[in-house]
Symmetry: C2
Amino acid sequence: MPEIQVVLVNPLYEGNVGSVARVMKNFGFFRLVLVDPCPLSGEAWAMASHARDVLEEARYDTLERVVEESSLVVATTGEVARSVSSPIRMPYFSPRELRSMIAGVDGTVSVLFGRENCGLSNQELARAGIICTIPTSPLYPILNLSHAVGIVCYELAGLERGTYALASPLELESLYAHIDRFLDRVDHPPHKREITLLLARRLLSRAMPTIREVSTIHGLLRRTEQRLGGAIPRNDDDTSPPRGTG
Amino acid sequence: MPEIQVVLVNPLYEGNVGSVARVMKNFGFFRLVLVDPCPLSGEAWAMASHARDVLEEARYDTLERVVEESSLVVATTGEVARSVSSPIRMPYFSPRELRSMIAGVDGTVSVLFGRENCGLSNQELARAGIICTIPTSPLYPILNLSHAVGIVCYELAGLERGTYALASPLELESLYAHIDRFLDRVDHPPHKREITLLLARRLLSRAMPTIREVSTIHGLLRRTEQRLGGAIPRNDDDTSPPRGTG
């Protein structure tokens, strides 16, 4: 299966962290990353039960590092947008849709889960390529953290490792930087810049481009920049050589 | 949707009962039945969080009454048989398969969950028509009780109420009693009696017969008994009139 890691961002209750370790192991997942967690003491170990190993091997890290090392970052949220005009939480996918989206992928997929009281911040959600939400009842939509992790693990269990190598996070960041520069060249209004870039990031991440596809987009942007004439791009930090639009 | 009720048989930890109430409400289920539970005090209410209503309205009852009132009884187990020759735990279905099996049903479906330490007994499993198991990792197959309930509720959420009226539990019991008498008439070996009856019960419950189908089987058995000649059946407690085999 793709390397799936569960990333808990700032979990507040250690019992939940232990329960998450247990349910991960129940479905065959072992890679747990803790970003700024509460201290773990007896209760976490008690709730982990026979999944002490998952808890012991949990990695403490930053969200930046997680994003850097992942081929795909999925953010879970209970709160989704009502409108497609809000790209922070839109469009979103169910865990079952997520399963079919990542089937066949070869790489590291990180699934982020937020705080028990307020989930992931908009800034954290913006780091993700895919937004995932578990369909719940409007009468009480807030799942316990370990239940949410359990349902996602249940859906993602048993995927075969694919052969579909995604463009690396570095290659994608270079593409987003190129798009950012391109927006300058076409005088995109500054106040729309951030939302346009987020939209591009979501759309491209979700499409899960290969390195060949990323390279083609670079080429197309470059060709367009040449035709626009005028100033030379400020910076040429994209890593792939020009190849035209083919 | 069909009336789905979650039945906890002899739960040992009140925190789990509270977590079950919460995750039921998360997926829109409100009917909780407690069979011989541990005492519920503060921890159950704390874990139920905003699902106090589900806990408050939980019914205390016996397994016998639950079976009597249900159109279909589903037993969940983590321990399934390796061989089809053991009909207590075989055949079994995943929660997703269960969803498609009960889609379209009009009636009460009770889903039983056993004790945290040893699940449901063989005797309790024998009361069920359908065995359901959540596919887990062999490295740590034992799910926390509320995680198991959560995943089943997640799968069964949002089913439409069907129009497919099942034969009532009373009608089915009458059919099983008829089959039992029939086994006498054909000199079925006594030591095989119990397992054969369990097999017939599982097979017929799983097929979810209508009253018309139950009546046809009664008729076919009766016709066969007449052709066999000899003693008149001991007891004629089936509720439907003879109709032939059509």
